[in-house]
């Protein structure tokens, strides 16, 4: 970009709409500083805060919207529509005999002991799930031809039921999309006002329940998302922005709005994925390739692993869970996503004494509204944030840069009445117990997440982001035996920064199940060529020049009959040469890397994947050069008593701006920034690197 116009500056904007705040970051390509704007989200029309924020950012540097060369955007709109069940009336067409697959699900209870278990209500009720005669077999061959004569009846039924969006999911369509495409064409002709989502298009993966669920979720939010994007694009035009709008997907890649509009479900985790991209960038700046990104806000805490410089990815995602943290209680989605786990309910998590007479923290949360007791908005139950205030980690006068005064007495009362008195201990001991319990919970969940992926979390550096992340990071790291932490500047607007860091990129997958010994290489090469053509057109429309585009092929493979597949890098050349042994060797190597051994067992292939990526952002190079010399041993301006488990210790309080490259201090200390507070216990040494990251190393 900007290739033909080298004299003109490239101004880029990243915008993240979260549940509470909308963050805008403006950056001039090559500059080592960022303009950061945080404003309240406007739920009725989210584009209002977006335009406001961009306007404010432009005003700060005194440029016009015409000078912007790219706007990258992430939003919670899709996730919220699914969680709140606010999509449109959706219909579903399936192979005859299979309309109930969507509701039968996997027949498995996510909670063993709860007889009143609630299973997710399907997004399409049974009456709007219609069937058609057709059948494709497991080889992808037509067993029963598609009977299009039945379509007028189906269309009439959908019309009568007021259907505005239709999903189509036919058996084995991931192998042969012909019948779905014919239905799609017919629907476009006969119901032009209705949005159509084909499963083979949205997610060409094997597994009829999960694929149907994905296609249905896409259809359910499609019209809403399309309308939103149209409004936003028009408003940006009006503002004077002349280029295309880019959107961040759940896998942290970004793609042009005209492509994204067809696959709204791919945006379900858009903001958090951009946060992981930011963590990768910050990690690169600190020369760390193995990062545990720990993002803790008011209502949720998430963890994500970046292994060898790449975020861990998955194609199995779940949204709108009936029971928080209960895997299997939500709607499954087969979409490429950064693999994140929710490890806690955030600073708003409510603490109580349970039926065993012990402290319990979460899973319910006071959220942002009414929020913790110390917000003084009517919640009387003690939360993690209330305890952080009593322990001296937070200060009632400097919260959110002093914009919000906290009520210490309300926090103390809540802790005494609901925790300390029933347990017969001092309030400060109860507050410490809550802090220890919540960090222990999160440490355990994050450790297990790593083990499940065959990774050893103790070798990772922790990178805390979000308002409450740095408050709890050191305590959590100690419990995970993690010895290094990286605290980047701008952690409070990490997702918006991540949007500027993400390369334009798109990933597509095609299921092609086959035992390796029976793999038809000629067909595989054909399929990969088709995928290349398709992906190239998608990325080209995102403005990536062909000579900057890189392609990465991979195969999802496993030992025959196993349930977990791993991603194995492959080259087109390997397939052209029918290199069966090479493919097996590649798989064995990846497997060994992950599980420490390989087996003497036949392997099988589940699907092919292709990621096409445009030029990388140079944001990292620029931010890496922002070293600013600071005092070797800065002196604190104030201090306050802080509790670290034994007694109150008079602890120095610093501003983050007190530190420059080369500064060093030892804990205990508190370091305050506008959006967050870093708690540095004894046993940690803090130093500052060339990119102004605070590096914390355990010394004991």
């Amino acid at each position: 970009m900007g290739m033909n116009d080298a004299v003109k500056a490239d101004w880029r904007v990243g915008v993240d709409i979260g549940g509470t705040f909308t963050d805008v970051v403006l950056w001039r390509e090559g500059a080592d500083n960022l303009v950061q704007i945080k404003l309240l989200t406007t739920p009725a029309d989210p584009s209002r805060a977006v335009l406001d924020g961009i306007g404010q950012a432009l005003d700060q540097v005194g440029i016009a919207a015409q000078e912007l060369t790219s706007v990258v955007h992430g939003t919670t709109l899709v996730a919220n529509a699914l969680i709140e069940r606010k999509g449109v009336a959706t219909g579903l067409i399936t192979t005859r005999g299979f309309r109930d697959v969507l509701e039968i699900g996997r027949e498995w209870r996510y909670d063993l002991f709860n007889l009143d278990i609630v299973m997710p209500t399907p997004l399409v009720p049974r009456r709007r799930r219609l069937e058609i005669d057709e059948r494709i077999d497991a080889a992808g061959l037509v067993e029963t031809p598609l009977n299009l004569d039945q379509m007028p009846g189906l269309v009439e039924d959908f019309r009568a039921m007021g259907v505005r969006s239709v999903a189509v999911c036919l058996l084995h369509a991931y192998l042969n999309p012909g019948h779905e495409q014919a239905l799609g064409a017919m629907l476009a002709k006969t119901m032009p006002d209705v949005a159509v989502s084909l499963s083979s298009d949205v997610s060409a993966e094997m597994g009829e329940y999960e694929r149907t669920s994905t296609a249905v979720a896409n259809a359910y939010v499609h019209p809403i998302f399309r309308d939103y994007l149209e409004r936003l694009v028009a408003a940006l035009r009006e503002l004077g922005y002349q280029h295309e709008l880019l959107l961040v997907l759940s896998d942290g890649r970004s793609i042009a709005a005209d492509v994204a509009v067809k696959y709204p479900i791919r945006l379900v985790q858009s903001g958090p994925a951009a946060g992981a991209e930011a963590a990768r960038l910050f990690g690169e700046l600190a020369r760390q390739r193995d990062i545990l990104c720990f993002d803790m806000g008011g209502t949720t805490a998430k963890a994500c692993l970046i292994h060898d410089g790449e975020p861990e990815r998955t194609v199995n995602f779940e949204v709108a869970r009936e029971t928080r943290f209960a895997e299997g209680s939500g709607l499954p989605l087969l979409i490429p996503a950064i693999d994140m786990i929710e490890i806690g309910a955030g600073g708003g998590s409510i603490a109580r004494v349970d039926q065993r007479g012990l402290l319990q923290v979460g899973p319910d949360s006071a959220g942002a509204d009414p929020g913790p007791a110390c917000y003084g908005r009517g919640n009387q139950f003690p939360t993690v944030t209330d305890c952080d205030l009593l322990l001296g980690y937070l200060d009632e006068n400097s919260f959110l840069g002093g914009k919000m005064k906290l009520d210490r007495d309300a926090a103390a009362l809540a802790v005494r009445v609901h925790l300390a008195d029933p347990l017969g201990i001092k309030p400060i001991e109860a507050a410490w117990g809550v802090h220890e319990t919540v960090t222990a919970n999160m440490a355990q969940a994050a450790t297990i997440h790593a083990i499940e992926r065959g990774l050893d979390a103790t070798r990772f550096a922790m990178l805390p982001i979000g308002g409450a992340g740095p408050v709890h990071a050191c305590s959590m790291a100690q419990k995970m035996s993690i010895t290094r932490l990286i605290c980047p500047a701008g952690a409070g607007v990490a997702s918006a920064i991540g949007m500027l860091a993400a390369a334009k990129s798109f990933e597509i997958g095609r299921a092609a199940p086959s035992e390796l010994s029976l793999l038809d290489f000629t067909k595989a090469v054909e399929l990969l060529n088709d995928m290349t053509t398709e992906a190239a057109s998608l990325v080209a429309s995102a403005g990536a020049e062909d000579d900057q585009v890189t392609r990465r092929f991979s195969a999802m493979m496993r030992y025959l009959g196993q349930g977990y597949e791993i991603e194995v890098p492959v080259t087109l050349e390997m397939l052209e040469h029918h290199d069966r042994d090479g493919l097996l060797a590649s798989f064995s190597e990846c497997y060994r890397d992950r599980y420490g051994r390989s087996e003497d067992m036949p392997a099988e292939l589940l699907s092919w994947r292709l990621a096409v990526t445009g030029q990388r952002s140079t944001l990292g190079d620029s931010l890496g050069q922002r070293a600013a010399a600071g005092e070797a041993a800065p002196v604190s301006r104030t201090g306050r008593p802080v509790w670290f488990g034994e007694s109150f210790v008079e602890t120095p309080v610093f501003k983050r701006s007190d530190f420059g490259t080369g500064s060093t201090i030892h804990g205990p200390a508190i370091i305050e920034e506008n959006e967050s507070t870093l708690v540095l216990p004894a046993g940690f040494e803090l130093s500052v690197d060339g990119a102004l990251n605070l590096i914390l190393d355990a010394t004991s």
């Binding site: 039968i104 027949e107 498995w108 009143d116 065993r356 319990t437 035992e515």
Partner: protein
């Protein structure tokens, strides 16, 4: 320990860490395991016990039956090897059905954990193995046909593999690599458990787990005792007929509540039979305790304390306490009736929590044969759940597993492995029993053989003659159906299928709860709109459409 006070905060943190350790260790096992049933179906359990052999905690992924059978397994191990004969690094193994999970296909192991020379805990685990030698079949007449029985013995002696035991296993199994791989994966998990437990005890300055264990058990026991004490004292009975093989069998159950103690007795249940559908007492007790916990105190932790006030007995030699050499391969065909028997007995006094009968015992089918092409042989097990019983707070979900909690498999994956076409997998209208809350709908599955080579089909199904009952005025669910080419076949049978043959399975529907006349109009209309009930049936059950 004594010098540091064990207050509620500290106890809570240690307890949480113990829970976390078994979850992490179970993941170590799952990730290193070889067999599909363990890796993907989580057909396993991992549990931690104190030095006295009291169960403290278990991994979340554990299946309910194994959790309930492990305490008895450990007790039997300690009878054979008193503590004085145990050394650091020992692992003791057995798959004896009577001290284990009720059939030979589950191998259990126990590992004593020492701190210095003091025994402080036991790690124990159970994992399913598809092959255990022998020739288990629906026609087995005694347990000796059903495979290799491993007596209680040390498979690892003070850290050294016992080659004799390993050789015995290798010689007797069809796929020794897979089974021994799973066994070694558990060794790795034990080492991990040892290290993590020592780290916890170091950090918390604990020389012994006893004070922590005493608190954990006392608090859990208190929770269960309070929950039982809240129920009215008395004796509550239930009894019903079940399909059996040649003739119907009877399940009888009496639940006695006396203060804070609950006793379940199965006196009056039919005697054991010469078919592989007998349950051993340990398996019966596991499902009985699971049912009591679900019903009485579902939110409390599961450990020796929560089980202490619950007593389960059954007369020796009956279907639910079979004695050797009874064949037991399909012990779930009687054992899965234990929860509905207890629910039925307690229904009158637990109207706000109760669940009507579900379409279980779990239905499954084995298909085996040879592919027409060069892919060789196939053996595939396919699971199908029935409708869930109606609950006190709403309708039963359609096709949700209870009590076994086994999931289904995607049709698209199945068709890649077996040369058959699935023609239908859908709800059966009117299959859920009527009631204020209706039972969950059952499912219909239609399979069509496509291969030139014949396919052998083995089924073990129940609820063909006696459908799931409704409770407290609710109506029964629909009975199950097994057909080949329109002809009913025996529910426990082996059939050879040829190209074009069509198999229909209709699982049983869930029972309803409370009188149908109490059902609200909106729910009746919604079921009609969605075609889950037909107008004719709706009129019959509810008096209107």
């Amino acid at each position: 320990m004594s010098e540091i006070e064990l207050n509620a905060v500290r106890l809570g943190l240690i307890w949480r860490r113990l829970d976390g350790i078994v979850d992490q260790v179970a993941e170590t096992f799952l990730r290193a395991a070889f067999s599909v049933v363990v890796r993907d179906n989580y057909d396993m359990a991992f549990s931690l016990f104190d030095a006295q052999g009291r169960q403290l905690t278990q991994s979340k992924r554990s299946i309910p039956s194994f959790l309930g059978t492990l305490p008895r397994t450990l007790a039997a191990v300690l009878e054979r090897f008193p503590r004085s004969q145990l050394a650091p690094g020992d692992v003791i193994i057995s798959n004896n059905a009577w001290i284990g999970t009720g059939h030979l296909n589950d191998i259990s192991m126990v590992h004593p954990i020492f701190r210095g020379d003091r025994l402080v805990a036991f790690a124990a685990s159970t994992a399913h193995t598809v092959d255990i030698g022998g020739a288990p079949s629906p026609s087995a007449r005694d347990c000796f046909e059903e495979g290799l029985c491993i007596p209680i013995c040390k498979i690892v002696v003070a850290g050294e593999d016992n080659a004799t035991v390993m050789d015995f296993l290798t010689e007797n199994l069809r796929q020794p690599g897979e089974t021994l791989g799973d066994i070694r994966a558990q060794f790795a998990a034990y080492r991990d458990c040892n290290a993590k437990l020592m780290a916890l005890m170091d950090e918390e300055s604990l020389h012994d787990l006893s004070p922590v264990a005493d608190e954990i058990i006392a608090r859990s026991e208190q929770s269960m005792r309070s929950a039982i004490a809240a129920l009215p004292d008395g004796e509550y009975g239930d009894g019903f007929d079940v399909d059996g093989v040649d003739y119907p069998l009877r399940i009888e159950c009496m639940v006695s509540i006396d203060g804070d103690q609950l006793t379940v007795d199965f006196a009056g249940t039919s005697g054991q039979v010469p078919w592989p559908i007998n349950s051993v007492l340990n398996y019966t007790q596991a499902y009985a305790r699971y049912a009591v916990k679900c019903l009485v105190d579902p939110d409390a932790p599961n450990n020796a304390g929560s089980l202490a006030p619950v007593h389960i007995t059954a007369p020796e030699g009956c279907l639910l306490n079979a004695v050797p050499p009874a064949p037991v391969w399909g012990r779930h065909l009687s054992g899965h009736y234990v929860p509905p028997a207890i629910f039925g007995a307690l229904a009158p006094i637990m109207q706000n929590n109760i669940v009507a009968e579900s379409g279980s015992p779990l239905w499954n089918v084995y298909f085996s044969g040879r592919h027409d092409d060069d892919r060789g042989n196939f053996v595939k097990m396919f699971f199908m759940n029935g409708g869930h019983g109606a609950r006190a707070n709403g309708d039963g979900p359609g096709c949700l597993s209870f009590p076994s909690n086994v999931s289904n498999q995607p049709i698209e994956a199945f068709e890649h492995q077996v040369p058959m076409l699935v023609r239908e997998k859908c709800f059966i209208a009117d299959s859920g029993g009527a009631g204020r809350f209706r039972g969950g709908n059952a499912q219909r599955l239609v399979f069509e053989a496509r291969a030139n080579n014949p396919i052998t089909m083995t089924i073990r199904h129940e609820r063909i003659h006696y459908p799931p009952r409704g409770l407290l005025g609710g109506k029964p669910g629909r009975a199950g159906i097994d057909q080949v080419n329109g002809q009913t076949i025996a529910a426990k049978s082996r059939t050879e299928l040829n190209k074009g043959d069509r198999v229909v399975f209709e699982t049983p529907g869930g029972g309803g709860l409370f009188a149908p006349s109490e059902r609200d109009g909106a729910s009746i209309r919604q079921d009609l709109e969605n075609g889950l009930t037909t107008p004719a049936a709706s009129r019959k059950s509810y008096g209107h459409e």
